[in-house]
């Protein structure tokens, strides 16, 4: 059935012309290929299968074939074709030319802004994977490529897990698999279903980008792996002085040992990386030293009772951590409507404990011409809007990490809200309907436009009116 001979450049497999071999490793060879009628640049991955090879050698290939076929969207290479194991096994996917995060790391220390942008791009990509019920489980800089527009693309799904497909990796290995520097504590305990494992790896990458060091080194033994269950990394700020508290907070929040203590979704990490002024700083943000010996011993002792919990599907997990956008127009809304909005948010928070609320208002650009004056006025208006929203939210008594406030600029209120919702993976928009029919007639209905244009759920809140005769 299978041979250990790799196909020759210049030959053709199922209509794919083999143009050039660009890589040959221990497990597989990669070719540039082309096929008439397909415009994308393509690569073909061919596993090396030879006599005497353990099935484990091609299980990663099987997994990648199965999962790539199910994935869609800009954050993975497009799936094109696959060849059957029984004849000529291969996988043809889109070729991503862009540099990898690994290439960027080689260039030396990057600015804080740049790290945040890369991190946000990777978090966006992870969120998209998790939405599709896939946990990657081998996120590392070499597996993150960038498209020319800055979109991150995740490659190499050989160790990944799809919630609706059999886990061939678990079947084959019966021991933790992954890349030692990036593997999460639960993966070390052979738990292979938690999307927050990828968030841990994202934390390792952010740490590495920020400090140039690996937080847990690259151990080679199981006992070396286990150290991350009780030893914490040196706080990034202690290594690089210009790392701000918010970035340290984000990184260490991703690197929490217990998955429950990490960010609930990659979308939340993405948001915090670009709105750092709103990151809720905890003790993590200012830590400069590692824990003392006693704490470490206590933690070490606890690792032995670290038990695997059944994981929900990634998409189910995400639905318990929704990002809810509350559109507020406080100066023009009456108290009853504001109260009704608050009630709805209160119920949403009660339903999903991991949810993240962002209160948003849209400010039209000022019409004043004097530049300085405009700037100052706009700033004070922004501040005023923020103060109003905080005041509105006070009665909800939410924890600091649950709520964010945002003033958006834009002359088209609905469009500004829709853009924000798309960029920040909003799952639900809560918006009040304009009460006065005169206003609605003149200005049009924002809520109608939002409801029509949104990619997520939209809830339009109205104050019950007495019925007109």
């Amino acid at each position: 059935m299978q041979t250990d001979k790799l196909p020759q450049v210049g030959t053709e497999i199922d209509g794919f012309q083999l143009l050039e071999k660009i890589h040959e490793g221990g497990m597989a060879a990669i070719y540039r290929v082309a096929k008439a009628g397909i415009d994308l640049p393509l690569i073909m991955k061919v596993p090396k299968l030879g006599f005497g090879n353990h099935p484990a050698c091609y299980v990663g290939f099987d997994v990648e074939q199965m999962i790539m076929e199910k994935l869609t969207g800009p954050h993975v290479p497009a799936f094109v074709a696959k060849g059957d194991m029984a004849e000529q096994p291969y996988l043809v996917i889109e070729y991503i030319d862009g540099p990898s995060l690994h290439d960027y790391l080689d260039r030396g220390p990057a600015s804080i802004e740049q790290i945040a942008l890369w991190g946000k791009a990777l978090a966006d990509a992870l969120h998209d994977l998790h939405r599709q019920n896939v946990v990657h489980l081998d996120i590392k800089p070499a597996n993150v490529l960038f498209r020319p527009d800055g979109t991150a693309v995740i490659i190499d799904f050989g160790l990944a897990r799809h919630a609706h497909l059999p886990d061939l990796i678990e079947e084959t290995f019966h021991k933790p698999v992954g890349t030692s520097a990036y593997i999460s504590p639960e993966q070390i305990l052979s738990i292979r279903c938690d999307p927050r494992s990828d968030i841990f790896a994202l934390g390792v990458i952010l740490y590495q980008l920020a400090t140039g060091r690996l937080p847990f080194g690259a151990p080679t033994s199981l006992s070396g792996f286990r150290k991350r269950l009780y030893l914490e990394p040196t706080p990034p700020h202690a290594i690089r002085a210009d790392i701000p508290p918010w970035l340290q907070e984000v990184i260490l929040h991703c690197l929490e040992v217990r998955a429950d203590a990490r960010y609930a979704s990659a979308a939340q990490v993405a948001f915090d990386l670009v709105h750092h002024e709103q990151v809720a700083l905890t003790a993590r943000a200012h830590r400069l030293n590692k824990a003392g010996l006693l704490t470490i011993i206590r933690r070490w002792y606890k690792t032995w009772s670290f038990a695997a919990k059944p994981c929900p599907e990634p998409s189910q997990h995400l639905s318990s951590a929704p990002h809810i956008l509350v559109a507020l127009d406080i100066p023009n809304a009456d108290e009853k409507l504001l109260q009704a909005l608050r009630e709805l948010v209160r119920r949403a928070v009660a339903a999903d404990a991991h949810c993240r609320i962002t209160c948003c208002t849209v400010e039209a650009p000022s019409i004043l011409t004097e530049e300085d004056q405009t700037h100052e006025l706009a700033n004070s208006l922004h501040t005023q809007r923020l103060i109003e929203m905080r005041h509105w939210a006070q009665a909800l008594a939410l924890r600091a990490e649950q709520i964010r406030f945002q003033v958006l600029d834009g002359s088209d209120t609905a469009q500004a809200l829709l853009d924000f919702a798309r960029t920040h993976h909003v799952d639900q928009i809560i918006i009040g309907a304009r009460g006065s029919s005169v206003m609605r007639r003149i200005l049009g209905s924002v809520s109608t436009k939002v409801a029509a244009g949104a990619l997520c759920n939209v809830t339009v809140v109205r104050v019950p009116q007495a019925q007109a005769n």
Binding site: Y58, Q65, M66, E69, M85, H164, P166, L168
Partner: protein
Amino acid sequence: MKLAILSDIHSNLEALQACLAHAKAQGAEQFAFAGDLVGYGADPVACIEIVSGLVRQGALAVQGNHDAAAVSGLCETMEFNARESIYWTRAQLGPAERQFLQDLPLFAQQEDIFLVHACAESPELWTYITGPRQAGRCMQAAQARLTFSGHVHQPTVYFNLQQGRGRPQVFYPTPGVALPLLSNRQWLAIVGSVGQPRDGNPAASYAICDRRQNTLTYFRIPYDRAKAAQKVLAAGLPPSLAKRLERGH
């Protein structure tokens, strides 16, 4: 080509019709019946009529323990409800239906597919496949890449490395998600029950194997349970059999 595999219909006409209509809408052109056409339910004759019609057009069908009991032999080893419904079923069947059930083979093979009601290792013993050990023995005996069976009313997939190396793994399929049947592995798919689901989900269960794409997709089909249950009561069958249809366990 799409092959729909249905098992454990158990004289439930409403469930059978709903599954067949769904399968046809999905583009299924071939059918395989993994046994237990009768027993428990109130429509043995109508169900046999439908299945025998499809068999005449080329569908595969094998015998299940309830089918065997309905035509001959003793059924004292069966539990009370099963036995009662077999006695009732015997009285309903005419010579043609009896002959059809009698003539069903214990297993069938077609290309790389092995179809059996219970277990390929001694099919006549009606062994329940309840874990990887029995699944492994079944796959080894079947010597086929794909084995489809029923008997256990819980949709389950077992898969193993080729030539039965290693211990089979168990996988519980998600309805509607196509499972790639990797060709370097052996697969045993228990397709669940059309007419008497017992996994807590009262919807009928069956599967479609897409031979071109080499995938297997399970489906759960809601059907008129109230009507089927009503018929069970009207026929004078044990009332718990009607309740079971409503509860799905």
